[in-house]
């Protein structure tokens, strides 16, 4: 999964949380480096995307990742009704408000990636090389069910 956020604290926290849960995480601080990575490698299973980034608006780039097959979860403290509408219209699967509870974010990203995989018609056993290697999927799904 990719984390696109200009806050170093958020990148660290999300990376640490998801790596402990078995995900392979790459972090980006701006859109330019994310686009460069997307041009060189397959899209990740999930993207945690901030709205306000140094070189543009994350919402304008949701469709880029969604069309590439990633589950896009928008994370921001600037989410009003218009942003929510725009994010979903562009193909975001979920929106999480900052400050973020990492357990909830993990559960929601897990669930979003699961939905996107199902929608793409891929079975759980046909996970791509960039999909997460989850240590305990049933337990995480249970957490997601309890929290969502």
């Amino acid at each position: 999964m990719w984390v696109v956020d200009d806050s170093e604290a958020v990148r660290l926290l999300v990376a640490q949380t998801f790596e402990r849960a078995g995900w392979r995480v790459e972090t980006f601080e701006d859109l330019a480096s994310t686009h460069a990575a997307l041009a060189q490698q397959p899209a990740p299973a999930a993207v945690v995307l901030d709205i306000q980034l140094p070189d543009g608006c994350g919402l304008d780039n949701v469709s880029v990742f969604a069309e590439a097959g990633s589950a896009v979860v928008v994370v921001s403290n600037l989410v009003g009704a218009e942003q929510v509408e725009r994010a979903f219209a562009q193909g975001a699967v979920d929106i999480v408000l900052k400050p973020v509870d990492m357990r909830i974010l993990l559960a929601r990203v897990e669930r979003s990636a699961h939905w996107v995989r199902l929608a793409a018609g891929q079975g759980a056993e046909q996970r791509s090389v960039h999909a997460p290697e989850r240590h305990s999927p049933p337990a995480l799904d249970a957490v997601a069910d309890a929290l969502l």
Binding site: E8, L13, T17, P99, M102
Partner: protein, 422 residues
């Protein structure tokens, strides 16, 4: 760079300028006096050389101070980055750091504050406990209260860290801070009070203290320009935001403070926030606060039945801003009411209100879109027809504006397009 360093540099410049003035005065006298002008010219050269050396020394000193500041800041940044990693590990379940050396305290506290800006839940509570256990709260409180050895900037920075760390022990400091003449200190005090409430499991004594703090802020330093900051700070009270705003709306406070509370409610949990806004609306609002209440309902996307009458009445208000917000709020009203009212507002005397009404119609789903198309074709008011047509064009996107893409392009438009392409 702190005030002492700036004062030192300007002191040096003043000394150099005084020396130059005296030297030049003496040279002038030498030129005016009868005697050998060659000696006077040699003196000019020596004096100008001295000026050059003095200015070079001042520049060197200044550059050295700037570099020293950069090196210090870079070292501090590295320390903060290292602590970000440690706190992230603590958030993930690693054991707490046993102790923090005095030289690391500021960086450790800053890193924890940065993390807590973006993080909530159990992991955030674990970091808060660790920060408390390491003595960082006590150290920052000592810094914030220090009267000797620390510049005002460092004292305020310590207070800001305490605000993000939401330390209940610092509530008395926050209460004093809101009375300060320094705007940054005031903001830290308000933010700290609000975030401390967010961290409290039960309102109790903390709720009372936070309200007292905000009342003191209202009485002493609040101005209308603080509204955006205050609404963001109130939203920082998290699960207690609705309670805090409801309490503020029962008090006699400046209009802008009420408006800030209503703004904060607009970003809160819909059900309880809408009830609080409705109670305020029924209490009789006007002007800025009425517009803020309507905007809050528009943001929440709902108009409770008890608020419907007030929202409908607001569309006839004398203030343009209120009618604009009434149009936005009507999107959340039952469509049997909203569509008719928005149709009327499309003919408002003010452009902004007509625009808001058209946008609101477009946001009312398929029925709203139908009404917008109908307004573009047959609204009795020509300005309403114009506005509806304009928004319809915008909503249809650039494709609709290109005659060559339209299925209904006439022969003439097709010919025009073909000519243009040729």
């Amino acid at each position: 760079m702190n005030e002492l360093k700036i004062a030192a540099i300007f002191g040096l410049i003043l000394a150099a300028a005084s020396a130059i003035a005296v030297t030049m005065g003496a040279l002038l006298l030498q030129f005016l006096a009868p005697g050998d002008q060659a000696v006077a010219w040699r003196s000019v050269v020596v004096a100008l050389g001295g000026v050059g050396v003095a200015l070079s020394l001042i520049c060197l000193l200044h550059v050295a101070l700037v570099f020293a500041g950069l090196i210090t800041s870079s070292a501090e940044t590295r320390r903060v980055q290292a602590w970000l990693g440690r706190w992230a590990a603590v958030a993930g379940g690693d054991p707490l750091p046993v102790a923090v050396s005095p030289g690391e305290q500021r960086a450790a506290s800053q890193a924890a504050a940065l993390i807590l800006q973006d993080m909530s839940g159990e992991a955030a509570a674990r970091i808060r406990n660790a920060v408390q256990a390491c003595g960082l709260i006590a150290a920052d409180m000592a810094r914030a209260e220090s009267r000797r050895g620390l510049g005002q900037g460092e004292r305020v920075a310590a207070l800001e860290r305490l605000a993000w760390l939401a330390a209940p022990a610092a509530l008395p400091l926050f209460k004093r801070a809101v009375l300060s003449a320094n705007p940054r200190t005031v903001r830290a005090g308000v933010l700290g009070a609000s975030r401390t409430l967010a961290g409290a499991n039960e309102l109790g004594e903390t709720g009372i203290q936070v309200l007292a703090c905000l009342q003191a802020y209202a009485d002493a330093t609040f101005t209308a320009g603080h509204r955006p900051f205050l609404s963001a700070a109130l939203a920082g009270a998290g699960k207690h935001t609705v309670w805090l705003c409801a309490e503020l709306l029962t008090r006699s406070l400046p209009d802008a403070m009420w408006a800030a509370a209503l703004d904060a409610l607009g970003t809160s949990h819909p059900e309880s926030a809408a009830q609080t806004v409705t109670a305020a609306l029924k209490g009789g609002l006007e002007g800025e606060t009425l517009a803020a209440a309507l905007r809050a309902l528009a943001q929440l996307g709902t108009v409770p039945s008890e608020a419907l009458e007030a929202v409908r009445a607001a569309r006839l208000d004398r203030h343009d801003g209120v009618r604009v917000q009434a149009a936005h709020a009507l999107v959340g009203a039952p469509q049997t009411v909203a569509l008719g009212d928005l149709w009327e507002l499309m003919a408002d005397r003010t452009f902004d209100v007509r625009f808001a009404a058209a946008k609101a119609l477009a946001a009312c789903g398929a029925a709203g879109a139908h009404e917008l198309r109908r307004a573009a074709a047959s609204h009795p008011d020509p300005f309403a027809r114009d506005m509806a047509a304009m928004l319809q064009r915008d909503l249809d996107g650039p494709a609709a504006a290109r005659p060559e893409d339209s299925r209904e392009a006439t022969g003439l438009t097709a010919l025009t397009a073909a000519t243009a392409r040729a």
